[in-house]
């Protein structure tokens, strides 16, 4: 019995050896995100499946064997840091993907630099990842607070919303989003009348919304995400805020949030995303594959995990090695990006991946033709204008 097992194993080994190329590399990717809390629908298991799809599409014929592991960081920087250290130190993980929640992402970002590994961030929003805190080991893929501020903030001011009040989630992400949107509003000639910092995560926002209402600001900027945004919008509708002439700006909203709110409440909201399942044939085809495995349409974060993982693997292949994290990231910057979801683009010196962003408006119940048919495109923000100019970020990698 023992002998048969041994024979089978060596047979399998020799089969693998014949199909492998000279540069036999095994890569281990850790998808670290929120698997049980308020961001678990937009990241969670869906991101793991997105990474698996990337491995599938990358192909098994390139001499790179990929293993994917995953863990829950519970939106807590200490939990996330422990997992990351364990992965890097004892489990030979080469790249950590996703990591929503900016406070956790900034911690993983530093550990990755310290261990010279790779972090391809899709889930977090803080533009500091490629700004003041930038690192030669991080690529920030999907979106950031500057791009959101630029898209939604810019559009609201252009439409006459020149006075703002912020309802801000009280942690790194909310602060960064408020800061970047304030800068955008003031640059466009608007003013910020005030704001309130809300405990994260929150349930009842009516008190904060009432403060926003009495501020008399034309636009109430929701610098929060996930369940916080859903509760804010639901309660704003209840308190007649939009009927009173004030507009809501959901600065970070996902298609899943709209799904949860229902079009009755969400209709008319303007929001910025870098991906929507119904953009073109390629996004539709990939999203169908994704939906078959998860039962939901992908969020832009999950799409970003797919595209980021694919590009990482291409860089490892081109470099012929995975060991020096900074070198792999340098290769990712050198190679142009090309994938079915974000099209062609590039990773800048500061680690920022640039691509088009889209300004969407949520459809009315009459316009929508069925589940997940939620957005109409208002405008496309070209890649060159969608992200913070390289020189303005204060990144030390930029010469």
């Amino acid at each position: 019995m023992k002998n048969t097992g041994f024979l089978l194993a060596s047979l399998a080994a020799s089969l693998m050896a014949t199909s492998a190329l000279a540069q036999d590399i095994s890569v281990k990717i850790g998808v670290l995100n929120d698997r049980s809390g308020i961001y678990s629908d937009i990241t969670g298991e869906g991101s793991v499946i997105a990474a698996q799809l990337a491995v599938e599409d990358f192909g098994t014929d390139k001499g790179i064997a990929v293993e994917i592991v995953s863990a829950d960081h519970q939106n807590k920087p200490d939990v996330g840091s422990n997992v990351a250290r364990q992965w890097y130190d004892t489990e030979n993980v080469d790249m950590i993907a996703d990591v929503p929640t900016s406070s956790v992402a900034l911690a993983i970002h530093e550990i990755t630099r310290e261990k010279n590994k790779v972090h391809v961030n899709s889930g977090a929003a803080s533009s500091d990842l490629t700004g003041s805190a930038c690192s030669p080991n991080t690529v920030h893929w999907t979106y950031d607070t500057w791009a959101l501020a630029n898209g939604t903030g810019g559009a609201m001011v252009a439409a006459g919303g020149d006075s703002w009040f912020f309802v801000t989630a009280d942690y790194a992400f909310g602060h960064a989003l408020e800061r970047d949107t304030t800068a955008m509003v003031e640059k466009s000639g608007g003013t910020v009348l005030g704001g309130v910092r809300t405990p994260f995560p929150g349930q009842d926002f009516s008190s904060f919304l009432l403060q926003a209402q009495s501020s008399g600001a034309k636009v109430i900027g929701l610098a929060n995400a996930g369940g916080d945004t859903i509760n804010s919008i639901k309660q704003a509708s209840e308190f007649g805020i939009t009927q009173g002439g004030q507009s809501l700006a959901g600065l970070l909203m996902f298609v899943n949030d709209v799904h949860s709110l229902g079009l009755d409440v969400a209709q008319g909201l303007v929001l910025t995303e870098s991906f929507y399942w119904d953009l073109n044939d390629q996004t539709r085809e990939w999203s169908t594959r994704f939906e078959e495995k998860t039962g939901n349409k992908p969020s832009m974060i999950q799409a970003g995990v797919y595209a980021g993982t694919l590009h990482y693997l291409k860089a490892v292949e081109a470099l012929g090695s995975k060991d020096d994290g900074a070198a792999v990231v340098a290769k990712m910057k050198e190679l142009k990006t090309d994938d079915p979801l974000f099209g062609q683009g590039e990773v800048r010196e500061d680690g920022r991946k640039v691509h088009d962003m889209y300004l969407f408006r949520v459809k009315t119940p009459d316009q929508s033709e069925g589940p997940w048919d939620y957005y109409e495109t208002v405008s496309t923000i070209p890649a060159a204008e969608a992200f913070r100019p390289l020189a303005d970020g204060g990144c030390s990698l930029v010469q």
Binding site: S36, G37, I38, Y39, S40, D41, I42, G44, D170, V196, R197, T198, P199, P201, G202, Q203, D204, S206, S207, F208, L210, Q211, Q213, S214, G226, G227, I230, N231, K234, Q235, E238, F239, G240, G244, N256, D257, H259, S260, L261, G262, D264, V265, N296
Partner: protein
């Protein structure tokens, strides 16, 4: 017009009213917990999950069976209450002779299982549930816009809380219940079926949680974690009011809603902590809680 610490009085009244509204959820939930603890000596950590189930069952009734809000307000607590009765008979009743800790662990585990199952099925983003058409819109009170639905929440929870208090403290049935907690053997000797009474009490406590869940469905996101977020605060409310004290739970529930509302105006960052600060102070000064009896 006078101003209090830079806050105009209109805004203050508005915030106080909102505090009262949030307080009504604390009151109903802590009332259920207090009844269950007072009569069964079980620290019911499943309470948050049962509140969440109330909201989910309301959503399911509407989505799968077309039962509107008003039907759900009656049906959901009954259904969730029956589920509570089954859990009590099958599981919790086996733990009465053991230390509190076992009941706590069991109910906490049950809560995690219920949340996990629903999360697996429906995800975390939540499900849409509209305000019933009869209660949409609102009144302009001069100092604030009061949605009709929120006014209804306060009235409904006050009525339910007071009715419960009345039944337990002022009626013959309530007297049996209170007697059964003091000395179940003696009450049983008088021919009263004590185990059945305890089971029904648990079912009623659970139904109260589900009732709060249905009330919450149109204004909060209906998601599997909605109870977990609230339950810790509600436990603090029960501890401040005095474990097992019915009136304590109601008064502290509304009172802490007000305090939290005020904190949201003066120092919003602290609004999630303030209740625990009060809890710490109360425990230092009066360990049995504001309305609790010292054993």
């Amino acid at each position: 017009m006078f101003e209090l610490l830079g806050i105009p009085p209109q805004a203050l009244f508005g915030q106080l009213l909102l505090g009262l509204i949030n307080g009504s959820f604390y009151a109903i939930l802590s009332l259920g917990l207090a009844i269950i603890f007072g009569l069964l000596n079980i620290i019911n950590f499943t309470h948050g999950a049962q509140y969440m189930l109330g909201a989910f069952v309301a959503w399911m009734l509407l989505t799968y069976f077309g039962v509107p809000y008003w039907g759900a307000l009656l049906l959901a607590p009954v259904l969730v209450g029956i589920k509570g009765v089954i859990i009590e008979r099958l599981l919790i009743s086996r733990l009465y002779h053991l230390d509190h800790l076992y009941g706590l662990l069991l109910t906490f585990g049950l809560a995690l299982i219920i949340q996990g199952l629903l999360r697996n099925q429906y995800g975390i983003s939540g499900l849409p549930y509209a305000i019933p058409p009869q209660l949409s819109g609102g009144q302009n009170l001069g100092f604030m816009f009061l949605p009709n639905y929120r006014a209804w929440v306060v009235v409904a929870s006050l009525v339910v809380c007071l009715a419960t208090w009345f039944v337990i403290e002022k009626t013959r049935l309530g007297a049996y219940l209170r007697a059964a907690t003091e000395n179940p053997t003696l009450v049983g000797a008088f021919g009263i079926n004590v185990p059945r009474m305890i089971t029904l009490t648990y079912g009623f406590g659970v139904a109260l949680a589900a009732f709060a869940g249905v009330l919450a469905a149109p204004i909060y996101a209906v998601n599997p974690n909605m109870g977990a977020d609230l339950i810790i605060v509600v436990f603090a409310v029960v501890v401040i009011g005095g474990m097992g004290s019915i009136l304590g739970a109601i008064v502290t529930g509304f009172g802490l809603g007000l305090v939290e509302g005020l904190t949201k105006v003066f120092y919003p960052e602290a609004s999630s902590v303030i209740i625990f600060v009060i809890m710490a102070i109360v425990l230092l000064v009066k360990p049995a809680g504001l309305f609790g009896r010292t054993a």
